[in-house]
């Protein structure tokens, strides 16, 4: 219970807002493709973080319910 990291929510949201801002800048500079790439990279990074969290959930549920 004490090891839960609520910071992850803010990290994800921070990455999202950061990417939005950079996206706007890149679009103003007529660099649509790089903006697209940036969005993709952001999504992948956030996905990696979320996957770690889901892994934690699976591990704890597996150990609690004697699953598998």
């Amino acid at each position: 219970m004490e090891g839960v990291n609520v910071d992850l929510l803010f990290k994800i949201a921070g990455i999202g807002i950061f990417i939005s801002v950079l996206n706007i800048v890149l679009k103003q500079a007529e660099k649509q493709e790089q903006a697209q790439m940036l969005t993709l990279v952001g999504v992948v990074i956030v996905l990696l973080m979320v996957l770690q969290l889901i892994n934690e959930l699976f591990e704890s549920i597996r150990s609690i319910f004697n699953l598998f």
């Binding site: 219970m1 994800i12 956030v46 996905l47 979320v50 959930l57």
Partner: protein, 130 residues
Amino acid sequence: MEIVQVVGVGLVATILILVLKEYHPEIAFQIAIAAGVILILLVIGYIVEIIQAVTEVALDAGMEVMYLQVLLRIIAVAYLAEFAAQVCRDAGEGSIASKIELAAKVIILVMAVPIITSVMESILSLLPYR
């Protein structure tokens, strides 16, 4: 006072999702997933205590441990499937959500086969003729 943390995480996540949904719906959904996982991880310690109490009562009542374990596994499968299906449905993929639920039902049925067969055997042994 876990409830304060739960409410806080829920409200903060909702507002963050509202902010991000306009520009990046994909990241907003990942925040939703992370918030759901965090909320469950907050109360998972209590689930352990509840399961221990139920196990003690069941052992006192002379119930077989195997049945209780099957029950707990079914609960876990149902919960995980529900979680994933809700996320999919939130993201507008109702068909994938239905398939997850169907798969979970099949898995639960497979897990319950030993119990069903034992019930059938006891019913058959009650019958006076064969």
